[in-house]
Symmetry: D3
Subunit: 240 residues, 6 copies
């Protein structure tokens, strides 16, 4: 049995608080158990240099952890004058994932800035960030549609993300920090409601992953993501 | 009458949520109306170079705004590779204020790291940061005492902070953003329960401040701070 | 009696050398005793982004200490890739003070760059910087008027600054370094010729400041500033 | 048929030049077609802070592109004072991959620095970097064994990496730049000689990847990696 | 006799490989013995701000060493967030040297970016960089002429560079690292085919250089440069 | 005749003010005409990492221009987060020059920090910096000898520096800015009292320098340096 009495294929409680802040066009507090991330989506009426005149929009993401989010205080990036390498990797993942479900050519020449600020970290901060940012993005798009700045919704697919991993030689879903820190392998999966893959990042930390394990992990992540997408749709008051 | 129907000498609702996060030794969500700041206090068992071997402790503070805290997205410091000048000024103020009510020689050779992260800004973020950090510091000190790492409480005075300003030629307390942005002058006051000054920062923005106005502002801030200290003491379950 | 035989309410000799350098539109060497600061004012015919098209001008200040200005060599900011926090705080103070006596809308869309470089530090470098920069600004404005680039003088008030503090429980004016380093409290006051406050920054370093002390310090600073403004006016060959 | 007449499951010519430079303990020029990367491995007899006293070693990687490696000149990181986000992601991948085939506890308290400098980029630079670095690492380990600084080889598995992707709705292996830039999806796979996964990074760029496609891509990458490992073993003069 | 059996006035084998890379307009691998530098020249159809509208072009150079180029691994500049001081000095020398043989007003409003990346360092990297960059520049100019973007060749003089120095009190040419590291004095000379000086940088490391020695060094460098220019002209298939 | 009526071989008035500042061990204001540089020498009782335990000392230099030193305001390095390339080159030159006249093994394990801050620039700031720093270094060494921290003077040679150049095809000494900005070639020479070369940096800006011109420039610089060394020795109250 797992650390917190969950079954291997059981996700933690996922809570999504919409309209968490008053200024951003979309803002969400997302919780995967004790992991808590503030995700905001802010519309800016211009695009990066390489898209000027293209008629196409852009979605970009930034990810950060507050100093008190972990058991050990995390030094701020600005103190070291360097963006944390892990943050760089994660924010690229968040941005790519959101862009891949959005028809950027239907967004118009504007940028949606996604900000993921982890206020408490207990494993799975990157998948919580993707799952929460999707809702913030959805709300920012709704704002654009309501304000008649957009006619058509450029989002093509519902999507969510989850972590899976091998702990004590068993595949498990939605690892908390205590599990993650002793995982043999871990994997982050981003998937559409249709069960297609947006992103897979699999890493054999302590040893390589066999094909059989890979199949188990992919299946387990799919089931979990389908559940999380239902939670998202309830929060968005959409039919499941 | 004021923007939000308050009287000139009336503060906004102040809410303090203790133990807001699970890892830091002290952590608080403080709200002055719509202004919301996460304040944490984390103990580190070492001191800066200049205090090594002195037997004395240190308190240092960092202040930051989340990108979505304002009406306009705020670029992260790391993007510009520069600590925001305003943040630099504020975090020095927070650190000085907390140090001045603490007997550092009784803290032992350890540092208490204070982190103030503004998640929503509606005026008065620096005074909310000081007021909230005081509670986080108090809880971190209590942790040290409970863990028998400290015998005596090094905190000497209860203290809180408030902003005052001159808006439409009238002195007002606890300015929200709409008031602050059109203030003729503004002032931040940090004061002990005994009514003594820890810090005053007064600025004549649009015109200099007369002596009569200065007296009014100082009196108004004193009354407000006494109210806020009572709220702090209730939260700390101390006799008022 | 004080370290250098001054009375508590006695300022050090203030010397102001105008036209100290040949290129800037205004340049001053100001001395408060052994504290020596080069203050320059340079006109640039453009404004920061947020003022473009506003018809309004801007005044901005930078403050720096030469490595040999103190008893201990000060590492250059560029070596650490960080603007010193204290410098950040001071240059914001200098800029705010000068802007608050100037009608920026009468300056035209141009920026006046103020640079304060401390070549020798013996306490009071920030107030010397403000006092000296005022003269450099005055000369740069005169240049603009003489060059017929400005019709009307946008400076509204004469002003100067001084430090006061509590040393050995006595209020004193214009602290030198030896006094400053053992001060219980210190305060910097920027004031107009009319006796109105432009800036107050008061800090209880070792203990809070009582109301009685605050009154003494404010009175003492007022008297000192009135003397310094007379010195400024003599240097500018204006009627006192 | 593909751009360069290859079949979909056909890799480009892979060339590995060992002992490419005279100073590093291991150094390789690896070519995947026109993609050329210099990979070096340098032993340093100390470990990062977090491993001091652990008896364990470390492998860390850095990745960089020369300005002239691409059709458009790439600005150096130092000019922007920021490590390129893509480079940050890749060098973390290279480091993780090499560490996961090495028993770090058998390496002793020393660090092996891997440097991948791309001198010409035509797609697949990250998989070429991993594949070439493996040989450089192997040679640095051999140096340690020959110098009797190590008794046992800490490398557990032979490994290599390849890219696969979906271009014009067809799965293809070892994409060159012209293919990569129009790929619907791309995936980088790092695998051991035993056919187990060390890393998978899959991205649906233009649309999500179906399960069927995922299976095809995984199979195709496996076959390619087995060929590349044979090339590595020939270069190392090992039995295949 | 010298370390590698050369006579005092004998240069190492100089090899120049043109068209070393496929993307840049000019690209060269230059070798002075074991010193190996990749030099590229890339045309950009714009000029720095200070030349806009001048009708004049610009040539600028960057110099860098790969981490594995030396016996001891060289930390990347981006890790320290600072351009290495020696690199800064060298790249300014390379840029000045190339500009001084080129009529920039005949280049048109375009910039030629020169990149010198040292892949192996055995003394004389700066003179190899200048000598190789000249060929890369020549080829980039030829590209512009062939593409009919330029009518006239703006290069005025053939030129090359060499190092000389005093080792064991004897003047020597083209010092390798082992000689350079014990040199009493060293000098880098850049000279035209006509025997005129473009740059001299002479440094008395261990003691000052006498006038007699200076004359010897200048003569020795002249003879060497004449030989190197012949090699350049052969590579360019020009009459010597 | 020259701009300021000097003859071609005539230097500007050189003024050296010793003990210019009260804290540094050596401090000088040096003036070459309107060029004014503050040079300080500060002793620190430790050495850089690479000299620890060697028994040898070190001399290092930093060079900077104040923003108002030139006709156009110079942005501070910290604003751009980059040490100016020209400053980097100059401070390396200053450091090398001072080290080459000093027996570092006789200095003991201590560093002498040289700081050159240009307060007004009118050509020749680097040679003024070297010439002035020599006096500051001399005074810092005298302080060490007087404090009985050194027994023997490690300075071996008196030295000074001057600029020469070709303007309107005529060789001239000690160029002011107006001359420097139109010079065909310029050269900085650092020389000992014995007439031996410490450093030569010659650059053909607009065209290469002929051998005849080189000889003229070297002779002219030698005569000038001999005069400047006499001025230094008078200031130091030494026999000439």
């Amino acid at each position: 049995m797992r650390f917190d009495k969950r079954k291997n294929d059981e996700i933690r409680t996922v809570r999504i608080t919409r309209n968490y802040l008053k200024y951003p066009h979309g803002s969400v507090l997302i919780e995967f158990g004790d992991t808590k991330v503030i995700c905001t989506a802010i519309v800016e009426e211009k695009v990066p240099q390489f898209l000027k005149g293209s008629g196409q929009g852009w979605i970009t993401a930034e990810y950060n952890m507050l100093p008190g989010a972990n058991a050990q205080r995390k030094q701020r990036d600005i103190t070291k004058l360097k963006l944390d390498g892990r943050s760089a990797e994660i924010q690229r993942l968040v941005g790519r994932s959101l862009r891949s479900v959005t028809q950027l050519e239907k967004l118009g020449e504007r940028t949606i800035w996604i900000d993921c600020d982890v206020i408490q970290a207990d494993g799975g901060t990157r998948v919580a960030s993707i799952t929460g940012s999707y809702i913030a993005l959805y709300d920012a798009i709704s704002y654009l549609i309501n304000a008649e700045l957009l006619k058509e919704n450029p989002i093509q697919y519902h999507m969510a993300a989850v972590s899976v991993g091998i702990v004590d030689n068993e595949p498990m879903v939605d690892l908390c920090y205590a599990e993650d820190s002793k995982a043999i392998a871990d994997m982050n999966v981003v998937m559409t409601e249709q069960g297609n893959y947006i992103e897979i990042q699999a890493t054999g930390e302590a040893r390589p992953i066999t094909e059989v394990e890979m199949d188990q992990l992919l299946l387990m992540s799919k089931n979990a993501i389908m559940q999380i997408i239902q939670i998202q749709k309830q929060v968005l008051e959409l039919k499941s």
